[in-house]
Symmetry: C2
Subunit: 185 residues, 2 copies
Amino acid sequence: MPQEQFDELLRFFKVLGNESRLKILGLLAAQERSVGELSELLDVKEPTVSHHLAAMKELGLVTMRADGNARLYQLDTQFLIQMSKDVFSQESLATLVDDTAVDAWEQKVLRSFLDGEQIKAIPSQYKKQRVLMAWMAERFERGVRYEEREVNEIIKRHYNDYAWFRRALVDHQFMARDKGVYWRL
Amino acid sequence: MPQEQFDELLRFFKVLGNESRLKILGLLAAQERSVGELSELLDVKEPTVSHHLAAMKELGLVTMRADGNARLYQLDTQFLIQMSKDVFSQESLATLVDDTAVDAWEQKVLRSFLDGEQIKAIPSQYKKQRVLMAWMAERFERGVRYEEREVNEIIKRHYNDYAWFRRALVDHQFMARDKGVYWRL
DNA sequence: CTCCTATTTCGATTTCTATCTAAATAGATT
DNA sequence: AATCTATTTAGATAGAAATCGAAATAGGAG
């Protein structure tokens, strides 16, 4: 999800995450209202209401039209409905946070424990170990069946203690073994 | 909408109206995560993440399970989906704010300008005038056709300047007129 | 039982946010 | 033009929320 979209969503929740503004939303859902009316209904001073309405307008949640001195605010129902659909769709949820955040961290881990293709050391933290294991798993092609001898050889190119690493890969389900034959999961 | 429900909705928006928590939502949408993982991914200290997760859990947005020392948090997708459906349905929108707030204000206006059934004075504010007009309109039965003479008579029971009030009722569409016959809208 | 690791609780600090009063603006009325 | 009315802008203040470091807690490993 692009930063821009994330920000709009965040602003949307921020705007509605306030008692006065949520009440305003409800009142405007019924009919358009002037600042003064809302002020009386909510028992909040005009400047405050005006302030809230500006935020809602900025977001696109309400529209405004002048009527004499009064400004009548109206809820943009379409906007709200569209928002709710967008927001809660499975896809948008899945991409709420850009993967780059995750990638960045994993890259950092790889950088600090890899010297080119060589593993310098095994991290003590489990979650960092997993990053290394995932990296090592990528050295194996999916759908290919490897003899234990081959597995050891491939691992040995990157890390000395191939036996430990081979077991780790199986234990943590990056690879599977059956009757001495291995394959990537 | 009952107060309780309004509060839950408000809390929902408050919880999601925070950058860190919205990011957490996104990360958990992809997979369950421990506090430490989230802390690193968000670049925010553990106590803060723990604090946010507590709020989300309190709301029912996430569930938690222990795994060794770690606590793995998982998004309750069902909760989120249900929330979005409930929240943005037309009905709930329409009843977001209890009508009692509106009624209370109108009652207040009526109390201050009515002495029993007698109108003491006409408010200068338009929105208050409308309350009086609505009240007066209720003195007429729907579906009944009134002669102008009858209209004047009924108004005069409550307010002296019947001509002004009669015109106001028509102008502001509480009543309609055709060829000297009136009826309530 | 002791140490280590992951998390939570506590308390303090800093940053936001809602709200108000007072003053400025602008449209309508006389 | 002068005045009135509704709203907005500006500036100040109080209250809430986010965040952190330090300390407490609790599970797992040696």
